[in-house]
């Protein structure tokens, strides 16, 4: 898996965004040295701005996207169950490809009247010339027989008539709606893997979050597209800050007991809480190391909320900070496993800091406002976080999401659509960010591409917050 940061990438195919979003971060110009640096950066950036709108996340976002046509799959048997499963399959496949960020779906209104259900039915010239002008064509069929559903899917290079097949897959499972959904996800990921630079798709990933729809804040899970929302914990008090382990087997979160906030551990293998020591005081916002062997969290065991570490069994407790904080919200560099970003109020309003995983080299990354909830990109080079840049009386600033290049501390604003936006979390492919926002009136989970486009609401019931994306 390779990532490449592309600061000089081609202009994104995103016509509505150009002028409004042409905002690039700057450091404060407080003294001549800063001013000089600032001018240098402005010069540097202005040369880039002619070519781009965004800091690119480097994971094939921002390159020219292939035009992919996806006519609805056809029924291959006469079973009455076909139509319901076809609808689920076609909707799921379309959505997966649409939000993937690596293809441009050709609008169905451009499609020819005759669409293929299998290879001999493909009329290349009807697809590879305008109006569809498709570079790629995904098609196939679905049929139920004897209680099992079988799906055949192909991906064709529409402009390579001699040897068009890029992909041909067959899937079979029990004929259920859930199985049709999973098959669509798998086929979508196969396409995305091939058209998206060899990066695994996210169609089978999960998102963990906090919901109060049961009457208490509990940990919930859902598929990445909002399907299959299900309750995980039943504490009956308050559960916050779910963090899924890198291997996907456990959720660490903070739960309220009668006397304290404690780090709690839920096993998805045996579907119940497993033991983790209680430290007393306030223990909150756990984070997994990239290798899954350690947990970092905020603990006031030593007096004030500091960033502390244990191994996954809770042994070896020690703290990395000693600022009398409040220090909270640690997150490991997922690529190197060698740094931790966190939030500290040591100078007043909370700011983003980074440090080595042993606590040395603590550096402040933001210089003003109210900055919280850092989340480290899978390629290790970016932080996304929530920031009210101008905070205080008479400054009705909104909490928006930002992306910062760690090496240069340059940042761009990702959300512009109002509401209070917080808790951004990266998808494993580095192309998506899930977050919470009250832009629709109450607190819900939303998803977008990491450049701020393709914003989509995932939850609608109750109030939902603090999403965390599975690592694979």
């Amino acid at each position: 898996m390779s990532y490449a940061v592309s600061f000089s990438a081609k202009r994104m195919n995103h016509p509505a965004s150009s002028a409004r979003h042409r905002r690039v971060g700057r450091l404060r110009a407080r003294n001549p040295a800063y001013l000089f640096a600032f001018l240098l950066i402005v010069f540097f950036l202005s040369s880039l701005l002619s070519a781009q709108d965004w800091v690119k996340t480097g994971t094939s976002l921002g390159v020219e996207k292939v035009r992919l046509a996806v006519p609805d799959f056809k029924a291959s048997t006469g079973d009455p169950q076909n139509s319901a499963l076809l609808k689920t399959f076609n909707d799921t496949l379309w959505n997966d490809l649409d939000v993937s960020g690596v293809v441009e779906l050709v609008s169905k209104s451009f499609y020819p009247l005759q669409t293929p259900g299998q290879p001999p039915e493909v009329n290349f010239t009807a697809w590879n010339a305008p109006p569809p002008d498709a570079g790629m064509l995904a098609f196939g069929n679905l049929g139920v027989a004897s209680g099992r559903v079988t799906v055949n899917g192909w991906l064709y290079d529409a402009k390579n008539i001699q040897s068009p097949q890029v992909l041909g897959k067959q899937y079979s499972d029990v004929a259920t709606d859930a199985a049709a959904r999973v098959i669509a996800h798998r086929f979508a990921d196969e396409i995305i893997f091939r058209l998206g630079g060899g990066i695994q798709g996210i169609a089978e990933t999960s998102i963990y979050f906090v919901s109060d729809r049961s009457g208490h804040k509990e940990i919930w899970a859902m598929d990445y597209d909002g399907a299959n929302q299900r309750q995980i914990t039943h504490l009956g008090s308050i559960a916050l800050s779910p963090r899924i382990s890198p291997d996907g087997s456990r959720i660490a979160f903070s739960g309220l007991t009668k006397t304290s906030w404690e780090i709690m551990m839920y096993s998805l293998d045996i579907n119940r809480l497993v033991s983790f020591p209680h430290f007393g005081g306030t223990n909150a916002s756990p984070a997994w190391s990239a290798d899954g062997t350690k947990l970092a969290f905020s603990s006031s065991r030593t007096g004030a909320p500091e960033i502390c570490i244990t191994d996954v069994s809770g042994a070896g407790f020690h703290c990395l900070t000693n600022s009398r904080g409040p220090d909270v919200g640690p997150v490991w560099n997922r690529k190197t496993n060698a740094q931790i970003a966190f939030v500290s109020g040591r100078t007043g309003l909370p700011q983003i800091y980074t440090m080595e995983a042993d606590g040395t080299n603590q550096q402040r990354m933001t210089d003003q406002g109210y900055a919280v909830s850092p989340n480290w990109s899978p390629n290790g080079q970016f932080l996304t976080f929530a920031w009210v840049r101008k905070y205080g009386p008479g400054e009705p600033g909104a909490s928006d999401l930002y992306l910062m290049d760690i090496a240069s501390k340059q940042w761009v604003q990702l959300t512009h659509d109002g509401g209070r936006n917080d808790y951004p979390a990266w998808s494993p492919d580095g192309r998506h960010i899930v977050f919470q926002s009250n832009r629709s009136g109450n607190l819900q989970i939303w998803m977008m591409l990491a450049d701020g486009s393709k914003v989509q609401q995932l939850t609608f019931n109750g109030r939902n917050s603090q999403p965390n994306w599975s690592w694979k």
Partner: protein, 245 residues
């Protein structure tokens, strides 16, 4: 008229003469018997109870005196000395009936002791409990936005709280740290912890034993007030005292 007076006079004289004559005849009657011996003196008796009214479970003193009695009994008690006293504690109102018998007769006396039932179980909290005193006297401490230091206008409350707690060393308490709705859930959990501990530290510095004090942060999870304005936010930025049973 004169003739009538004369008739009355003659009649009276005649009758008087007849009576004189008769009396002379009785001188021959026998001598009267000797006077009988004086009768034995009648007994006397008195009985009293003091106090005359008690509550059930209390006792009263029963006192009696008799004279000229050889056989003194009190109903319900039995034979007693001619003079005496005894403590009694009946559960119901009782009339003590004393009978003194002697050669001179029988004399009775009574005394009534009224027993009232005690008032039903100790009157519900006629005295102020520690918990009520606590809620009346201990004042919450309010904070500035994003701050966890005790600000100047809260020092008075802080000192009064410490004084009360030092005077009531049996009371244990929990300090809850609360935050307003703005900002991050996680950061506010940490900030609430700082606030609760700032209040605890101030109490400990004023001499309250740390072992009596627990702290917990509720961040912005359990607000006192849910409107989005500064008055409401100030209500929610506080260290809240809770009596620990």
């Amino acid at each position: 008229m004169k003739q009538q007076r004369i008739k009355w006079f003659a009649l009276v004289v005649t009758l008087g003469a007849m009576m004189m004559l008769g009396a002379c005849k009785k001188k021959a009657a026998p001598a009267p018997p000797p006077p009988p011996p004086p009768p034995p003196p009648a007994p006397t008796a008195s009985i009293s109870v003091s106090p005359s009214s008690i509550q059930a479970g209390q006792s009263a003193s029963l006192t009696w005196q008799t004279s000229n009695a050889t056989d003194v009994t009190i109903d319900g008690i039995g034979a007693v000395q001619p003079n005496g006293s005894q403590s009694v504690s009946p559960t119901d109102s009782t009339t003590y009936h004393l009978t003194a018998k002697g050669a001179g007769g029988t004399q009775e006396a009574t005394a009534r002791l009224t027993v009232t039932q005690p008032p039903p179980p100790p009157p519900p909290a006629p005295t102020v409990t520690d918990e009520e005193l606590f809620s009346q006297n201990v004042k919450d401490i309010y904070f500035d936005y994003d701050k966890s230091d005790i600000r100047a206008d809260q020092q008075g409350s802080m000192q009064a709280d410490a004084q009360f707690l030092n005077q009531h060393a049996n009371i244990n308490l929990t300090i809850e740290g609360h935050c307003d709705e703005r900002g991050s859930t996680e950061y506010n959990i940490a900030l609430g912890d700082k606030r609760a501990n700032a209040v605890k530290d101030a109490l400990v510095a004023a001499g309250v034993s740390a072992s009596r004090i627990k702290t917990i942060s509720y961040g912005k999870e359990r607000p006192f007030c849910t409107e989005s304005n500064e008055a409401c936010w100030q209500q929610n930025r506080r260290g809240h005292f809770v009596y620990q049973k």
